[in-house]
Amino acid sequence: MSLLVDSAAEAIRMVASADGKLLEIAVLSLRVSATATLIAAIIALPIAAWVAQTRSALKTPVVVVLNACMGLPPVIVGLVVYLLLSRSGPLGALGWLFTPSGMIFAQTVLITPIIAALARQTLEDAQIEYRDLFASLGLSRWQSLVTLLVETRFSLLVVLLAGFGRAIAEVGAVMMVGGNIAGETRVMTTAIALETSKGELALALALGMVLLAIVLVVNGFAHWGKMWIGRRYG
């Protein structure tokens, strides 16, 4: 119990003193995971839209693979991306190993299937409701898809938040690909893992509380944005 209280006090002290190192770590966490979410969305949403409306025989296998890949272990993703980015690997020339770019790469791989799988289900459910209307209005396939994406925008925002949440909470992949280098690739989760291994449990827990607060604030902003859009219609 006292550990929790100490940690909470430490967390408040760190935030209140606007600790430079903490700020740097928090900003890197946000930057890496937000960028990964953005890139994953750009890749995953078209995949989801395609799978949702296709009658191709590939549909079922793709759905099963996407759903299964939601459970990709971060350490496996980390290992594969590590091998890809290592000097002798096929993408070694990029020089991304132990850089934020490599971490973004790993997190993108990790959450693209999550966003694609959840968005696919969201779009398919919505399609049942809108299919007849779109057909009756004579919408082209492209118009139907775009309209469906717009109609499901609030649900898709939650899907993106799920992807972002998974990315920013993830430790295995960024540890392997980023290397937890202080001032370079150290993010909230790898910092927590490090402090825990050093026995600095109060500090580790305090960092955990700050991480949780960051995630809360991001979700709060997303919800507020959604309300703001909703309010435009009275």
């Binding site: 409701e129 809108y130 007849d132 209307l133 057909a135 009756s136 209005l137 004579g138 919408l139 118009q143 309209t147 109609e151 609030f154 909703g230 219609y233 009275g234």
Partner: protein, 233 residues
């Protein structure tokens, strides 16, 4: 054979199958431009299937079907499907998908909303409207597209009497403005008020096709006699 040149709809021996079940069987029907036809029949008789086939949502398995192109017709559902946008945007959306410029679309939309008694709702979020207002919005959206053929599938089935009245008024105005209307309904009064011709369906096909007055005065098929008797009881 039916002559397709002076007709709005011409179905000749049309059958449709869905999921191994015959949902329309040997339907032959000619509707002239400007008619208002009521489609009556028990649940499952094939009324919705007939409308969906005319609208192109259902494919024919045999026979020939001549209907206006999808751009020249509109379908009103029993439960209106509205977009998660403002009332105005719901109407202008339909216009914009057909290449109408945004300003023109908004102007036409406002005009049709006013014609359907929804002028003051233009900026409301569509899904917060009442059931009757939602159906009026669906009609405004359909009207904005200036359909030659308006198909309405039990448009007032879930509505209170006052809303039924305003929906009927809008349908009547669209008819007067030149639209051919095919109206599936369980409401005999509605069929009498709006339609000059009744198509009575049973067991996935057309059993009677007669002027409305004749049909209600002296139904001829056993199915129609039973249907009307139950409704009167």
């Amino acid at each position: 054979m039916v002559d397709a040149s002076h007709t709005c709809v011409a179905l000749n021996g049309v059958s449709a199958v869905a999921g191994g079940t015959t949902i329309l069987r040997d339907v032959t029907l000619v509707i002239a431009p400007g008619e208002c036809v009521a489609v009556l029949g028990a649940n499952g008789a094939g009324k919705s299937s007939l409308l969906r086939l005319m609208n192109g949502l259902l494919a024919t398995n045999s026979g020939s079907a001549h209907t206006p192109s999808s751009r020249d017709q509109a379908l009103i559902f029993q439960r209106p499907v509205l977009l998660k946008r403002s009332v105005l945007d719901n109407v202008s959306f339909a216009l914009k998908t057909r290449g109408v410029a945004a300003d023109d679309a908004a102007e036409i939309a406002r005009e049709k909303l006013a014609a359907c008694g929804l002028a003051t709702f233009a900026d409301r979020y569509a899904r917060t409207l009442s059931g009757g207002e939602q159906q009026k919005l669906a009609l405004a959206r359909a009207w904005a597209l200036q359909p030659k053929l308006l198909l309405a599938d039990e448009p007032t089935a879930n509505l209170a009497p006052a809303a039924v009245h305003s929906v009927e008024t809008i349908l009547h105005r669209m008819h007067v403005a030149g639209a051919t209307i095919v109206l599936a309904t369980h409401n005999r009064g509605q069929a009498k008020r709006l339609a000059t011709r009744v198509i009575f369906m049973a067991d996935s096909t057309i059993v009677e096709d007669r002027p409305a007055n004749d049909f209600f005065a002296s139904p001829q098929s056993a199915e129609a006699i039973e249907y009307l008797a139950v409704e009167r009881a």
